[in-house]
Amino acid sequence: MNFDLSEEQQVIADLAAQLFGDLATTERVKAAEQGDGIDRELWASIAEAGLLALSLPESAGGSGMGLVELCLVAQQIGRTVAPVPFTSTTVAAMTLAEHGVGTDLLPGVADGSVILASALAETGANDPLAPSVIATRSGDGAVRLVGEKPAVPALPLATAVLVPAMLDGATILALVDLSTATAGVEITPLKTTSRESQGHLTLDVDVPASHVIDDDAALEQLFLRSIAALSAVQLGVGEGSVAMAAEHVSNRQQFGRPLSAFQAVSQRAADAYIFNEAIRSTVYNAAWQLENEPGDKARADTLAAAYWSSEGTEKVVLAAQHLHGGVGADIEYPVHRYFQWGMQNATALGTATSHLVRLGDQLATR
């Protein structure tokens, strides 16, 4: 057992920290918020640095690494609230590579010219494993998809979207091409809490057999990887917000002493810090398990990470925001972005409660 990062992994973590630290400045983040929710210059830079190709197989021009490495980058994205569709694109790309579907898109993923989306969220109780889109066979392995998907990250920017659907009582993933306007594919851009680019997808469209992943296990795999990656983003969000709060309470004086001298303040900050450590531990454990020993344990461990990164990060960003007092309530001050990201990610692919319900089902029926 060794929980330390390998030398290679450490290089990636450092590279990502430096790159996002240098480039995802508050001014640039603000500009992306006011634009279409992506910083294209930053996107080009991370492509150039090879970060988009990390987890692609070598056969597709990638570095052949996995989910742990992807999470190292995702963490830095959260830490700097960097507006780039990294997790959305790279997690979907892993699925495509693994199933040999849409592989013509992968070189574009590596060089940054292709953005991918996964339409996991559902209306109502938001259960991504029970897709509401209905697929019917339309001959030769092709399917017709009919339905709607709410809150799809990066959809307005994407070249293609992976859509989970029900086909004859089992789940499939269908890759819907968005590179040209297609009748029966409608995208409505949405305004989100974190200002991340998202869209609502309405489908009534045929997908050729070559773009269908007809494997009932593929959706759960995509879901688990997605929540692991999102949890890594949450880890960074929590770290960034606690660092900002720690600095603020050390500097701001009230009653003739720094706020941090009040134990109510320092203990709340300490709780937030410990939450982050819980999230760090469970997220990297989950990413490693999913990559190296997929199965029931990996599933349970990933749900545990998702629970901590929903429940925990929400508490962390609430604490950091609260400890800033009125200073943080004015959006000229950057801490609110952590709150908005943390809150959005805590519900995006299910809430803490829904992760517990899913995990509880697994534990109780084992």
Binding site: A121, E122, T123, G124, A125, N126, P150, A151, L190, K191, T192, T193, S194, R195, Q198, Q253, Q254, F255, G256, R257, F262, A264, V265, E314, L318, Q321, H322, G325, G326, G328, A329, D330, I331, E332, H336, F339, Q340, M343, Q344, T347, A348, T351, T353, V357
Partner: protein, 393 residues
């Protein structure tokens, strides 16, 4: 002990309900969210309507234009009002904080404002907090210097809610820097149209610029606009702050456990046992606040000071707010991540800091409860007795 309405209260409730049915809009009927300016104007209009029909200042003394009814009647009206859209929330500083302060400490001339507030004619803001003086309000440094019949004020206030719409403000300023921090403060009424006042809106996460930075440069305040005597500002301010706590706790939040249950029903989530448990927990929290409210009202109607329950109300309400809006976020599912000012739950969730920070933060409330409720010794402070001008900053 009898918790039911007295015959008089029951008759009053029926009368209030009938009037509201005729004059107010049931909740959930209006769809578009007015901008902040419209919202403020609607509060003024509604207050005027209430006043015209005899529903304003129900428990205020008659000498101030009120109806002089026992506090229970105001509660009955508020309970009935909860089912309707109209709100006088933007007038909280005026009606809930300034009016009680002027009733207790104002001169007869100053008290003339009260009738205007009651008619919705005057909107007031609170110029207390400064960049360096939040929880430690008493360190404030805005300076007021005497020049004949006027006080000349210079300094900066911040987080001033609705200053951009206000006619008047209540202002705390330092009149004697040589005295310890609490004793050198005086309390003023300031005309917000004074040319020395500059207001810069600050945008919050809700997308609204509900509060502002307020810069005061050579603002000239006639000496008769001081409330209480020179150096008595802190004790006058305590009346305002106590009133603020109870106003926030009794506030009309635009949501309730009922609306939470309706949301769950509308989204088909009511069969989920986890959701039911969360709804029940919200109900339990709301019950505590409601019944504590009965105790407080009983005490005040018997001429007693309410006990620790009054201190706990604001904190309890803040916690209820946060937990209930978190439940709402759960219910909204994927919609919870949408940013939409017309979505009341999203707005309430993002606006939680107004409740948890404004009027004294949760931790400051806990400190007060520890000291005043439990009798714990005050936190030691190095600045006791030290002239304000000698404080480290």
């Amino acid at each position: 002990m009898d918790i039911s309405d007295t015959p008089e209260e029951a008759a009053f409730r029926a009368e209030a309900r009938a009037w509201l049915d005729e004059h107010a809009t049931p909740r959930g009927q209006s769809t578009e969210e007015p901008d902040l300016g419209d919202h403020v104007q609607r509060a003024r209009d509604w207050q005027r309507t209430l006043h015209e029909h005899g529903w304003a200042g129900l428990s205020w003394p008659e000498e101030f234009g009120g109806r002089g009814l026992p506090g229970a009647f105001a509660t009955v009206f508020a309970e009935e009002m909860a089912g309707f859209e109209e709100t006088t929330g933007s007038l909280t500083v005026s009606l809930g904080m300034v009016a009680p302060t002027l009733m207790a400490h104002g001169t007869p001339e100053q008290q003339e404002h009260i009738a205007k507030m009651l008619r919705g004619e005057e909107l007031w803001c609170q110029l207390f907090s400064e960049p360096g003086a939040g929880s430690d309000l008493a360190t404030l440094g805005t300076r007021a210097e005497r020049d004949g019949d006027v006080w000349v004020v210079n300094g900066q206030k911040v987080w001033t809610s609705l200053a951009q719409f206000a006619d008047y403000g209540i202002l705390l300023a330092r009149t004697d820097p040589d005295l310890p921090k609490h004793t050198g403060i005086s309390y003023f009424i300031v005309d917000m149209n004074d040319p020395g006042i500059e207001i810069r809106p600050l945008v919050q996460m809700t997308g609204q610029a509900h509060f502002n930075e307020t810069f005061l440069t050579d603002v000239r305040i006639p000496a008769e606009n001081m409330v209480g005597g020179v150096g008595e500002g802190w004790s006058v301010a305590r009346t305002t702050l106590t009133s603020e706590r109870s106003s926030i706790a009794g506030g009309n939040s635009g949501w309730s456990v009922e609306t939470l249950i309706e949301e769950a029903r509308a989204r088909g989530r009511c069969d989920d046992p986890v959701v039911r448990q969360q709804l029940a927990a919200a109900h339990c929290r709301a019950e505590v606040l409601k019944v504590m409210g009965y105790r407080i009202r009983t005490a005040t109607s018997q001429g007693r000071f309410p006990g620790p329950e009054a201190l706990a109300m604001k904190l309890g309400y803040a916690r209820h707010w946060v937990a209930s809006t978190e439940t709402a976020m759960e219910l909204l599912g994927a919609d919870a991540t949408m940013y939409d000012q017309s979505e009341p739950w999203q707005y309430a969730f993002l606006n939680q800091f107004a409740i948890r920070l404004g009027g004294g933060t949760d931790e400051v409330q806990q400190n007060i409860i520890g000291e005043l409720g439990l009798g714990l010794p005050r936190e030691p402070s190095a600045d006791r007795g030290v002239p304000w001008k000698d404080l480290p900053r």
